[in-house]
Amino acid sequence: MESFEINVGPTPATTSGPLHLRVQTDGHRVVQAKIEAGYLHRGMEKVAERMTWLSCQPYMGRIDYVSAIHCEHAYALAVEKLCGFEIPERSKAIRVVVSELSRIASHLLSIAWLARTTNASTAVMFALRDREKICDLFEILCGARLTYNYVRIGGVSNDFTEGFVDKTIEFIDYIVPKLQEYHQLLTNNVFFIGRLAGVGVVSASQAIAAGLSGPNLRASGVKLDKRKQEDYEIYRKIDFSTPLGATSADSFRGAVQGDAFNRYFVRIQEIEQSAVIIRQVLANVPEGKYALTLPRVFKVPAGEIYVSVESPRGTQGIFIRSTGEKYPDRLRLRTPSFPVLNILPAVLESSTLEDMGPLVASFDYLPSEVDR
């Protein structure tokens, strides 16, 4: 049977955004895959060059709209480092709490999309229901459900509002036992494991060569977590673990290190770890100011800097070059989903048509990050 080209996308049901794959198939198997990205290009980096340092802030939340805190965080850290600001301890603690909440929300959404590709429609709805609760929490805190514009240069935009801390602890108490539902529906589900185990195996060296980071890298067995590696905010003071992909010693499931199932498994364990972090931080939040007072229009001294944080998808990095003006001279975003494009064709070429959907969804590929 001769080769046959199939278009997957630009709006497939595998990612929350447009992704266009041109796939050459030979019957059932995929022979070659070509990726066309760029459907969501909005020119963020160019826009940043004509916005003042403060006005640039809302755009950062829209790079990665699924977990908006992390890009804002990276931007704020970069500018603060360049200016030499030292932010109060309280705002560091607040930033950690919202970062982890945002991480839980993002992982829930990625689980929802992965479940959707395997037609486990119940799990989709459950994950979205739990994500709604986090959106409600953010609504109480900063007024927006999705694009928070909360982490600012010098701190955060406002302190904890009334009821936020109580509701967050309530939510954490709710979600940790609720994860058992996900384990029963998905993690221990023979059909789900059968769909994902052994699919899209990425070895550790392949992952490092491609530049993967975050859960994708940790599922392949490489223990690299920016929260532990780099010393930012108060992560060094918190006791938490970073889950790695289970090795093939986990014979109950038959999953292989670096396959799609492990990428999912790492994410769902990270939700528990984020809950642990939030509980520890909320138990003793230091008193003090929630932000530095900055002038309305300020100029950042000349220089270059690159700062990276651990976003739910991996390493979110920002490079800033300033020439002492009101506007950035160059803002470059290093987004965690971009290296996935490096490895996706190679991984797709050894898979079948049926596996393509779950495979792409297991990388938690977010087109808006890639296209900026």
Partner: protein, 192 residues
């Protein structure tokens, strides 16, 4: 391909265990005997929603509103807006003051509801309301104007007339007003 008998039975046990676990998880949702198992959605807008805009948290970033009486025309909001959706024009007012904001248009089709303008407003005239239902049939209806309007000759004349009336009244009051010595003499003359 020979498959050991044990492997087949292990598969049976796994399949049955999966089926049992999955059905047990979704079973409560079928009958909804606790509130956490009932609907999480509501029919909008055909049925009246249980949540009204007033129930939203205080910090919600809804449609913007500017109180033009307090607005000083400082343009901080227009400067900080990331999408340049606020248009401000000021001119000398009919009362010859310098804070007559003639045009204050917010184009809500461009607004990204980031809240930077509200934060930067020094007088507190620009606020977020809790309204979020702003669908209109024409794109132009989304431009909301809060300005006082361009100064016209009529306005100036009206203000001038007002000023003249006030001055006339004050003069009259001043004419009828005596100096303290004259007031004392008048009082003694009238035999108080």
């Amino acid at each position: 391909m020979a498959l050991a008998q044990g492997r087949v039975f292990f598969g049976v046990r796994k399949n049955l265990a999966t089926a049992y676990r999955v059905l047990r998880v979704t079973f409560p949702y079928l009958f909804g005997y606790r509130s956490e198992y009932r609907e999480n959605t509501e029919q909008y807008p055909d049925r009246v929603s249980a949540r009204m805009p007033e129930d939203l948290p205080a910090k919600v970033r809804g449609i913007l509103k500017n109180d033009i009486e307090k607005c000083s025309g400082c343009r901080y909001c227009a400067d900080v807006c990331p999408v340049n959706c606020i248009e401000i024009e000021t001119e000398v007012g009919p009362d010859r003051s310098l804070s007559w904001v003639s045009v204050f248009d917010i184009d809500h089709s461009k607004c990204i509801f980031c809240g930077m303008c509200v934060e930067s407003c020094p007088t507190g005239s620009l606020i977020h309301t809790k309204e979020y239902e702003a669908s209109t049939e024409k794109l132009d209806s989304l431009v909301m104007g809060f300005g006082r309007g361009w100064v016209t000759q009529n306005m100036k004349d009206a203000w001038n007339r007002e000023q003249q009336a006030k001055e006339a009244k004050a003069e009259e009051a001043a004419v009828n007003e005596l100096s303290p010595i004259s007031a004392e003499i008048k009082r003694r003359l009238e035999g108080s």
